[in-house]
C-alpha cells in the first residue's frame, strides 16, 4: 500500500467514525448497538441477498422505530461481500474495530474463513442454513451460531417426509438424490446414505456439475430410467428451476419431490415457468414462507405509517422472511444480552450468551420453536414443508425434525474430530 492510499483510508475511516458518532448522538436515549452484516446483493447468489437483506433491515428499522431494544437502537452495518472471501475478512475486521457485538455472516466459504477469527475475538456470528454443519455443536464452536437447520438436519428431515408421504415405511422403496456437485451439495449425503441402510430403501445419487445450467440428462435418468418413489432435490442457483421444469415435462409427479432449503424460493418457481408448472412441489423451509404472519403484517403497517408502500422485495417471501428471521433472532439475543449486562452496553460475549438463552422463540409462527443452548447452536434443527398450491406456498406439515438422534450424534462426532485435527 502506498502512503497516499493509506492516508485516503485514514481519512475515509475518520469520516466513517465521525458519521457513526453523530448518528448515535442523534438517535437514541441510550446509544447504538452495532452489528456487522454481510450480504450478497451482487455475485452468484444475489437472488438470495436482494430479498434477504432488506428483510433484515426492515425488521431492525421497525424495532428501532418502536423504541429499540430496551432503549438501545440497533444498527446493522451492511456490506456486500459478493460471495467472495477477502472482503468478508476485511469487513469483519472493520466491524470489530468499530465495536460490533456480532456479525451476520453470509456464505459457506466466508463462514469457514471467519470461524477462527470469531472464536479468537470472542465475537458471535450467525450462518443460518449454510456454513459449517458441525458448528451446530456449541461445545466445539462456541461463537458460531447456525441458528437454523443445517444440511444434515435437512437431509434427515427430507427422508422423514418421504417416509411419511409413502405411507410410513421406506422398505424396498427407491429414492433419488439430485444434488449440486460442490461441498455443500455433498453435505447431506452421509446422513441420507446412513438412513438408506437403516430404513432399507434404495438410494441413487445424481450429481449436477457446476455451474448447474444443464440438468436434462439427470432429470431424464430420474424420470425415465430410475423411476424413484421419491426425489430429494438439493441444488442451488439456476438448477432448481431446471429440475422442476424437467421433472414436470417428463411427467414425474412434483408432489413426490422435496427440495432442501436453497431450492425452495419463489425465484425457483418463477424460473421454472411459473406457479402453474410447479404445482405440488414440496419445499423445505427453516423460516415460514408466505405473507400470513403477524410480524410481516407489522412490517407492512410500519411502512404504511411512514407513508410508503411495502417494498417489492417482500413478494419474494421465502428469502425476505429468512431475513426477518435472522434479524429477529439477533434482536432476541441482544435483548437477553442486555439482561446479562444490566442494561449497559453488552459485550460480544454477552450477546453470545444471549443467543444461548433463547428459548421457545416463535415470532408468531414465522419461525419454529427455536431453543438455543450452549451445546445446541442449531436451535433444534426444525424445518417445515410448504407445498406449491395455486399461487402460494401452503403449509403441508407442522414444524418437525427428522431422525434427531442420528443427526445430533453425527454433529457431535464430526465436531470433535474437527476440533482435534485443528489443534
Amino acid at each position: 500500500m502506498t502512503p497516499r492510499s493509506a492516508r485516503f483510508l485514514t481519512l475515509a475511516l475518520g469520516v466513517a467514525m465521525a458519521a457513526a458518532y453523530t448518528g448515535s448522538a442523534r438517535a437514541a436515549d441510550k446509544g447504538t448497538i452495532l452489528l456487522g452484516m454481510q450480504c450478497d446483493r451482487t455475485g452468484p447468489t444475489q437472488v438470495v441477498g436482494t430479498a434477504l437483506c432488506p428483510g433484515t433491515h426492515d425488521y431492525i428499522d421497525m424495532i428501532n422505530a418502536q423504541g429499540g431494544v430496551d432503549g438501545w437502537k440497533i444498527e446493522a452495518d451492511e456490506v456486500d461481500n459478493a460471495y467472495t472471501v477477502p472482503p468478508a475478512i476485511a469487513e469483519y475486521e472493520r466491524a470489530k474495530q468499530q465495536g460490533a457485538v456480532g456479525v451476520m455472516v453470509y456464505g459457506t466459504p466466508q463462514t469457514e474463513a471467519l470461524n477462527q477469527r470469531l472464536e479468537q475475538d470472542k465475537i458471535p456470528g450467525t450462518s443460518p442454513g449454510f456454513g459449517i454443519a458441525a458448528s451446530a455443536d456449541g461445545k466445539y464452536y462456541p461463537y458460531l451460531f447456525p441458528i437454523a437447520a443445517n444440511y444434515w438436519s435437512q437431509g434427515a428431515a427430507a427422508v422423514q417426509f418421504a417416509k411419511q408421504q409413502l405411507g410410513g415405511s421406506l422398505k424396498g422403496k427407491k429414492i433419488a438424490y439430485i444434488f449440486y456437485d460442490n461441498p455443500a451439495g455433498h453435505e447431506p449425503l452421509p446422513v441420507v446414505e446412513q438412513l438408506s441402510k437403516d430404513e432399507g430403501f434404495t438410494l441413487q445419487t445424481f450429481a449436477v456439475p457446476p455451474p448447474g445450467v444443464d440438468v436434462s440428462s439427470q432429470v431424464l435418468a430420474i424420470a425415465q430410467q430410475f423411476r424413484p418413489d421419491f426425489v430429494i432435490d438439493h441444488t442451488f442457483g439456476k438448477s432448481p428451476a431446471l429440475v422442476i421444469k424437467g421433472l414436470q415435462q417428463n411427467g414425474y409427479p412434483l408432489d413426490k419431490v422435496v427440495a432442501l432449503v436453497w431450492a425452495s424460493g419463489e425465484a425457483d418457481i418463477l424460473g421454472a415457468g411459473g406457479w402453474k408448472v410447479a404445482q405440488g412441489y414440496n419445499t423445505m423451509q427453516f423460516a415460514g414462507a408466505g405473507e400470513n404472519y403477524p410480524v410481516i403484517n407489522e412490517i407492512k403497517a410500519f411502512y404504511k405509517k411512514a407513508g410508503k408502500a411495502p417494498p417489492a422485495t417482500m413478494a419474494s417471501t421465502v428469502y425476505y422472511n429468512r431475513g426477518v428471521f435472522q434479524a429477529a433472532v439477533w434482536v432476541a439475543a441482544v435483548k437477553n444480552a442486555l439482561k446479562l449486562s444490566n442494561g449497559k452496553k453488552p459485550t460480544p460475549t454477552d450477546v453470545a450468551k444471549g443467543f444461548e438463552m433463547i428459548k421457545d422463540f416463535k415470532l408468531g409462527g414465522l419461525v419454529p420453536p427455536i431453543t438455543i443452548s450452549p451445546t445446541d447452536h442449531e436451535g433444534g434443527g426444525w424445518v417445515r414443508i410448504f407445498q406449491v398450491k395455486g399461487e402460494a406456498f401452503v403449509p403441508k406439515t407442522d414444524w418437525f425434525r427428522g431422525y434427531r438422534d442420528l443427526v445430533v450424534a453425527k454433529e457431535a462426532k464430526i465436531a470433535e474430530q474437527m476440533a482435534q485435527k485443528s489443534n
Binding site: 500500500m1 502506498t2 466513517a16 476485511a90 472493520r94 461441498p183 485435527k421 485443528s422
Partner: protein, 355 residues
C-alpha cells in the same frame, strides 16, 4: 524514486547489472524498510492492517503469474487451481504430520510446481488462446479432484481447518503479527523475482516472449524454459494458496475459483505486464479499489441517494466503478500502472531542467 543519475559512471558489467545501480537506491530501500517495518505497524489500525495483509498475499500471487504471463508470454487462467493445490498440500501436511510453516509453505509450492509442469506441457505445442483453454481446463480438473477425493479434501465440506502459524512457540493471530509473517514472504518473492529476471533463466523467458523462434535459433531450449516458467509461476501460486490458508485458518477450494484466477490476471494487466513493481501496483489496486469505492459511496452516496437506496445501489455501483476505473486506467496507459509511475518518475528525473 526521484533522483538524479548525474555523476554515476559504471565501469564494469557487474555494476551495470547490480540490483541497485545507483547509490541513492540503497537509501530508498532503507526508507521503504523503515516505513513498512516501523511506520505501518505503529500507525495502521487493525482494519487497515487486514487490507494490507490481503494485498501482501495478492502480491506474491501476482508476481508469480507475471513471471509466466508478463515475462514468458504464456497464459494461464488456472492459477486459482494451483493455489488450491498448494493450500490442500500444506493443510494436509500441517494437520496430519504437524509440519511447521517453514516446511509446509515450500511443500505447498513444490506440489503446485509439479502440477504446473504437467499443465505446462501442452504449451510446447499450443499458444495463446488455445493454451488459455488448456489451463482453464486444469482449473476445473483440480476443482473436481479436490471435491471428489476425500483423501485430499478432508471429507467435511471439502475443507481442512489449520492452526495459525507459530514462530518460536508464539502463535501468530493478530493482524500485526500476521503482517510481519506475510511481509517476509512478499519481500522474499519480490527480491527473488528481481534476481530471477536478471539471471540467465529470466533472460531466456524474455527471449521466448519476444520471439520464440528467434530464441530457439540462438540456442534456448524452449521446452525446458517454458516448463521452468510454469513451474516457477505455479510455485508462487502454491505459496499464495498456503498463505491464504494460514490467513483464513482453513483450506477450501471454493476460495480459489475461476474468478480468483481472472482477478489475478486483471492485477498484472492493470499493474503492467512483465514487471515486479507492476504486479505490486496491480495487487494493491485490485484489492483496495472495491473497498475504497465502497467507503466513498457509503459516506458520500447519501448526498445523492436515500439511505435505503444506498444499500441497494452501493454493491452495484461498486462493480460499475470498478470496471469503469479499470477501463479508464488502461485507456490512459495501456501498459499499466507501472508505466504510469515510470512516466511520472522520468518527468521528475530531469526536473526542473527538462531540456
Amino acid at each position: 524514486m526521484f533522483h538524479s543519475e548525474t555523476g554515476v559512471f559504471k565501469t564494469s558489467y557487474a555494476a551495470d547489472m547490480a540490483l541497485y545501480p545507483l547509490p541513492v537506491a540503497r537509501w530508498t530501500v532503507a526508507a521503504l524498510a523503515a516505513v513498512f517495518l516501523v511506520g505501518v505497524p505503529l500507525l495502521f489500525t487493525p482494519y487497515m492492517m487486514t487490507l494490507l495483509n490481503l494485498v501482501l498475499i495478492a502480491v506474491v500471487g501476482a508476481i508469480g503469474l507475471n513471471i509466466l504471463v508478463g515475462s514468458t508470454g504464456q497464459i494461464s487462467i488456472g492459477h486459482g487451481g494451483f493455489m488450491s493445490v498448494g493450500a490442500y498440500t500444506a493443510a494436509n501436511l500441517i494437520v496430519r504430520l504437524h509440519l511447521p510453516f517453514w516446511l509446509a509453505i515450500p511443500a505447498g509450492g513444490l506440489m503446485a510446481a509439479l502440477i504446473g509442469i504437467i499443465v505446462g506441457i501442452p504449451s510446447l505445442r499450443i499458444k495463446g488462446i488455445y493454451l488459455a483453454v488448456a489451463t482453464l481446463a486444469s482449473q476445473f480438473i483440480i476443482e473436481w479432484t479436490i471435491n471428489h477425493v476425500t483423501w485430499i479434501s478432508g471429507g467435511i465440506e471439502a475443507s481442512i481447518q489449520v492452526p495459525p502459524p507459530s514462530v518460536f512457540g508464539v502463535k501468530l493471530v493478530t493482524p500485526t503479527a500476521l503482517y510481519f509473517f506475510l511481509l517476509f514472504f512478499a519481500v522474499l518473492a519480490i527480491v527473488a523475482t528481481l534476481n530471477l529476471m536478471r539471471s540467465r533463466i529470466g533472460r531466456a523467458f524474455i527471449a521466448i516472449r519476444d520471439q520464440d523462434i528467434a530464441a530457439e535459433i540462438i540456442g534456448i531450449n524452449i521446452f525446458k524454459y517454458k516448463l521452468y516458467a510454469f513451474a516457477i509461476s505455479s510455485f508462487y501460486a502454491g505459496v499464495t494458496g498456503v498463505l491464504y490458508t494460514y490467513y483464513y485458518g482453513i483450506a477450501n477450494y471454493e476460495q480459489f475459483g475461476i474468478d480468483v484466477s481472472i482477478n489475478y490476471l486483471a492485477m498484472i494487466i492493470i499493474g503492467g505486464l512483465g514487471s515486479v513493481l507492476g504486479a505490486i501496483f496491480g495487487a494493491a489496486f485490485i484489492t483496495l479499489l472495491p473497498e475504497a469505492v465502497r467507503l466513498f459511496l457509503k459516506h458520500y452516496g447519501s448526498m445523492v441517494f436515500s439511505q435505503d437506496a444506498v444499500l441497494r445501489i452501493v454493491p452495484n455501483m461498486q462493480l460499475i466503478l470498478f470496471g469503469g476505473l479499470i477501463i479508464f486506467f488502461l485507456v490512459v496507459e495501456p501498459e499499466g500502472l507501472n508505466r504510469l509511475w515510470r512516466n511520472i518518475r522520468n518527468y521528475f528525473r530531469v526536473w526542473p531542467f527538462s531540456y
